[in-house]
């Protein structure tokens, strides 16, 4: 394998069978990732995919890259070690809503706040797939599953809001059934220097079929998807509606208003539509946008795209800088110095003859 050869999708397809259920949304994600990777200008051997346990977490087996299928919920920790040991690598974490937000929620938080420079794909199917259909932390309240015959009691978490509140420098959402959009987002994540968190709506056609149907359904998709573009106003439904900031009693709230057909970029009540700025240092607006269309806010469309993408030194950068500082201050350590430190004494041959 030499770098000279131009990489293609086929280079990232592993040998064996792909073993997800026929019709599973995971296939499309796999295909999109395999499509995007060869375009990034990164040598194939520099990619490493690290996953936990779940249907989603079988992902690395299907990629012809370095991969590690670890244990349930802990992929962020292994990925952090892989990346810290070799900052040259492009390290991707593949996780599910149970893996990354239930058992692994804490590692997700800490990986994000440390800005570990990992690319995180959270396959959100709002169910535990591999264990055959129990509610997950993203399942809607009241959901009836095998372990919640009377409806689940837990209030769901919104993965994107969770990530942004944890300090994500990059947060985005896409849909497995929209490969074009997904590939765009994957490229943006790859380009980001820092941890990039992507929530991917993914249909589990066996245990939670249709969870995201409204985002795909011909009749509803225009009003349910709010596609974000940097510098563009937050418009949807064929640019007939948009998002405005409503300071109702000083309570900042995003609401939908209709576009004034007569005045460009202004709502019927005369409000300006928000203009999307993922580079906004302040995370508040991204946080508010992440809640749009969430399970607890079904009236509004869900934001699809890059909600936030800001610069911040990565953990590895600072770690390396500290190492350089240490070397420059103390000199490259020698084992001899370490062992033979100052508090030594010597016993002579002839001491007690």
């Amino acid at each position: 394998m030499t770098q000279a050869k131009e990489l293609t999708k086929a280079d990232f397809v592993s040998e064996g069978d792909v073993k997800w259920c026929p019709g599973c949304g995971d296939y499309a994600i796999l295909s999109s990732v395999q499509t995007v990777l060869p375009t990034l200008g990164i040598p194939k051997e520099k990619f490493c995919f690290v996953s936990g346990i779940g249907c989603s977490s079988r992902f690395p087996y299907y990629m012809d890259t370095y991969g590690f299928h670890t244990i349930h919920g802990r992929a962020p920790t292994v990925a952090s070690g892989v990346k810290l040991a070799n900052p040259d690598l492009s390290v991707w974490v593949v996780t599910g809503d149970g893996d990354g937000l239930s058992i692994g929620g804490n590692h997700t938080v800490h990986m994000i706040r440390r800005n570990m420079d990992l690319k995180v794909l959270l396959f959100n199917n709002r169910i535990y797939g591999l264990t055959k259909g129990q509610y997950s932390p993203t399942s809607e309240q009241g959901k009836v599953t095998k372990t919640s015959l009377y409806g689940s009691i837990d209030s769901p978490l919104n993965p994107l809001s969770f990530a942004i509140a944890s300090g994500a420098t990059f947060a985005a959402r896409t849909n497995a059934a929209n490969p074009k959009h997904m590939q765009e987002i994957l490229r943006a994540a790859a380009a980001h220097k820092g941890t990039a968190f992507i929530e991917i709506f993914q249909n589990c056609n066996i245990f939670n079929d249709g969870a995201f149907a409204k985002y795909l359904n011909k009749d509803t998709k225009a009003e349910e998807n709010l596609f974000l573009e940097e510098g563009k106003p937050l418009l949807f439904d064929g640019e007939t509606k948009g998002i405005v900031m409503n300071l109702d009693g000083n309570n900042p709230k995003l609401t939908v208003e209709e576009v004034d057909p007569d005045k460009a970029g202004v709502s019927k009540t005369g409000k300006k539509f928000l203009v999307h700025d993922p580079k906004n240092e302040d995370h508040t607006l991204a946080y508010l946008i992440s809640y749009l269309g969430s399970i607890s806010d079904p009236e509004n469309p869900a934001a699809m795209g890059v909600l936030r993408s800001v610069d911040k030194p990565t953990y590895g950068d600072v770690l390396n800088a500290q190492e350089e500082q240490a070397v420059s201050e103390k000199g490259k350590g020698s084992l001899k110095d370490l062992v033979y430190s100052k508090d030594t004494w010597t016993v002579k041959e002839t001491a007690n003859a």
């Binding site: 991969g67 920790t77 070690g81 500290q322 033979y340 016993v347």
Partner: protein, 614 residues
């Protein structure tokens, strides 16, 4: 070096314990006595005893902090069983330590601290004469240490509190006088510590000398003593704790492996020091990562191993529970990572600052499935250096996780370390695999170590994981054949480590009546007992295991050369269980579960009982 002074009584060995309130500076006092004795040429061994609380309320039993030093003109291997001297700075310290003072031993108390209030805090009734019950069997010296320190510092322009804080130096000076020690190394140390605060420096030196002269002046102490220097192997020495030695051992292993060291850990007593120590060594290329918990600690270490670093994680018993699932992943993915378990008293949170050897079965068997992991144990503070290197060597050369066992006694105890000739350390024999033509992730060498190709290596892309697999290709395979084969391979790989071990050392004759078989921190006590029993003419020998899994191949034959095998452990018989089941040898245990290091006299007594039964 030392000139013999005929006025002084000559002693071979002395054990002193300084104890007082956490705020009384006893650890420091003990350390100074240690360094002075080491420089003087004695063999030494120390063992501090911390309270579980950071700084429990002053004067309470929970707040007592102690430091024990054993110094000798012989070679010694323990911090001593019973005390020759107990220095107790307050009633709480007196109460919790007095039982360890031997018949006719010396008790020095700071009589100024034995106020009604302090007596009450220690749980005494106000007007109790607390010394009375002891006076017939020990020598009690009530010294007004606080008052005399303050008097000595009368002329100093300092707050009374600051002056009082010098009273530990007074106590140190007094003991220096009793044991004819020079003051100079402590003076030097004070100068380096308080160089920028001349007032405090002077006050400390003054208090130190005041204590020394006090001993000289009053007639209370009939005798002074001398412990001549020991016949110590020539070489360069430093005093070192087990945790420091582990840290240095890991750095050395990193050099021998030619790979940077990565440590992913979460603080926990008594392992925290290792992480703290290693975070000083960034200029050695050491990467320390304080993770959000123990799971993340080992997870990051495993990731770094996959990426080709020398990977370690450090913890104590409760942390092992959390790491077990990942240890198992390291077993099935056959990645080199060293899990250092610095054992403490259990079960559960248990006795976080006390010593015990109760994690052995946990590290051997605390995982689902048949999941063999090599286990290496250190036997003393300085031995941690070599043991840590050995653990790393096995991990890298055999491609396997390895458990390194130490315990509180080793971790915070100290002894002189004869510094090794670094050129004698052997580089690790392994290679990253780089050739795509010959690569397969589970292809093995003659040790059954699989190929280690790290991400970034062109053409060797592969995925590993926790599902059962097929050998050589490493492809997921849950078939009967694959599982049967892989189970066998994993077991054999670990067993093969034994084929590379040197012959097991026997201390004493290789055949005889009784063999002490031990592991870990009991080494010193067992060795001392063995030597003393041998001196009494008994046919007793000692084997102390560095490797508990796999056991040395020659162990069975050695054991069968003795009429009785006795296994002393600070647990209810964990190594015993393994030995008995594996060899059907009726090994007897000496099992102590009382938070203390093994006692030599106990060992000797029990050994004689066993010998009597023969």
């Amino acid at each position: 070096m030392a000139t013999k002074d005929q006025d002084k009584e000559q002693l071979h060995s002395v054990t002193i314990r300084f104890c007082g309130d956490s705020g009384d500076g006893m650890q420091l006092t003990g350390t100074q006595f240690t360094n002075t004795s080491a420089l003087f040429g004695n063999d030494i061994s120390t063992y501090p005893n911390f309270p579980a609380e950071i700084r429990a309320p002053q004067g309470t039993l929970a707040g007592v902090s102690g430091f024990q030093i054993h110094f000798s003109s012989n070679n010694i291997h323990t911090a001593g069983d019973e005390l020759d001297v107990l220095v107790a700075m307050n009633p709480a310290a007196f109460k919790t330590n007095i039982e360890d003072l031997k018949q006719n031993g010396i008790l020095i108390v700071n009589e100024d601290a034995f106020t009604p209030n302090n007596l009450k805090k220690a749980g005494y009734i106000d007007d109790e004469d607390i010394f009375a019950p002891y006076e017939s069997r020990i020598r009690v010296y009530k010294v007004p240490i606080t008052k005399m320190t303050l008097t000595a510092l009368e002329d100093f322009d300092m707050m009374a509190k600051a002056k009082e804080r010098c009273k530990n130096m007074f106590a140190l000076g007094l003991t220096y006088w009793i044991y004819s020690r020079p003051l100079d190394s402590t003076e030097e140390w004070l100068a380096s510590k308080f160089g920028k605060k001349p007032e405090i420096l002077e006050a400390n030196i003054k208090a130190l000398k005041a204590g020394y002269h006090f001993g000289n002046t009053i007639e209370a102490f009939q005798n002074t003593y001398e412990v001549p220097e020991a016949k110590i192997q020539p070489g360069t020495y430093r005093n070192i704790t087990g945790n420091q030695a582990v840290a240095i051992g890991f750095v050395a292993a990193s050099e021998l492996a030619k790979r940077p060291l990565f440590i992913g850990s979460y603080p926990i007593t008594p392992a925290t020091d290792i992480l703290q120590e290693l975070s000083k060594y960034k200029n050695y290329g050491v990467k320390t990562f304080q993770a959000e918990d123990e799971i993340a600690g080992i997870g990051s270490a495993i990731g770094s191993a996959f990426s080709g670093h020398l990977a370690v994680t450090t913890t104590s018993g409760p942390g092992i529970a959390l790491k077990s699932e990942f240890m198992n992943l390291a077993v099935i993915t056959e990645l080199p990572v060293v899990i250092a378990d610095i054992q403490r008293g259990g079960p559960s949170t248990g006795l976080p600052t006390k010593t015990e050897q109760t994690d052995l079965l946990q590290v051997l068997y605390g995982r689902n499935g048949e999941s063999p992991i090599p286990v290496v144990a250190a036997k003393s503070p300085s031995d941690c250096f070599e043991a840590a290197i050995e653990a790393c060597r096995i991990a890298v050369e055999h491609m396997t996780p390895v458990v390194f066992l130490s315990d509180t006694q080793i971790a915070i105890g100290s002894e002189p370390w004869k510094l090794p000739d670094l050129s004698n350390l052997k580089e690790f024999e392994y290679d990253f695999h780089k050739d795509p033509e010959t690569f397969a992730p589970y292809k093995r060498n003659e040790l059954l170590a699989r190929q280690w190709a790290v991400p970034g290596t062109p053409g060797c892309e592969h995925t590993i994981g926790g599902l059962e697999k097929e050998d050589i290709t490493g492809k997921v395979n849950l078939s009967p054949e694959a599982h049967e084969h892989m189970t066998k391979v994993r077991a054999e790989k670990v067993q093969l480590i034994a084929s590379k071990l040197p012959a097991t050392e026997v201390l004493g004759e290789s055949k005889g009546d009784l063999l002490f078989l031990g592991w870990g921190s009991t080494y010193g006590a067992i060795r001392t007992a063995t030597e003393q029993l041998q001196a009494e003419g008994l046919k007793v020998s000692q084997v102390h295991l560095r490797h508990i899994n796999p056991l040395p191949n020659d162990l069975e034959e050695i054991m069968r050369g003795f009429k009785q095998v006795v296994i002393p452990e600070l647990n209810l018989g964990q190594l015993s269980m393994i030995i008995r089941s594996k060899f059907l040898i009726d090994a007897k245990g000496i099992n102590q579960m009382n938070t203390k290091p093994l006692s030599v006299s106990d060992l000797m007594a029990k050994a004689k009982e066993f010998l009597g039964e023969l």
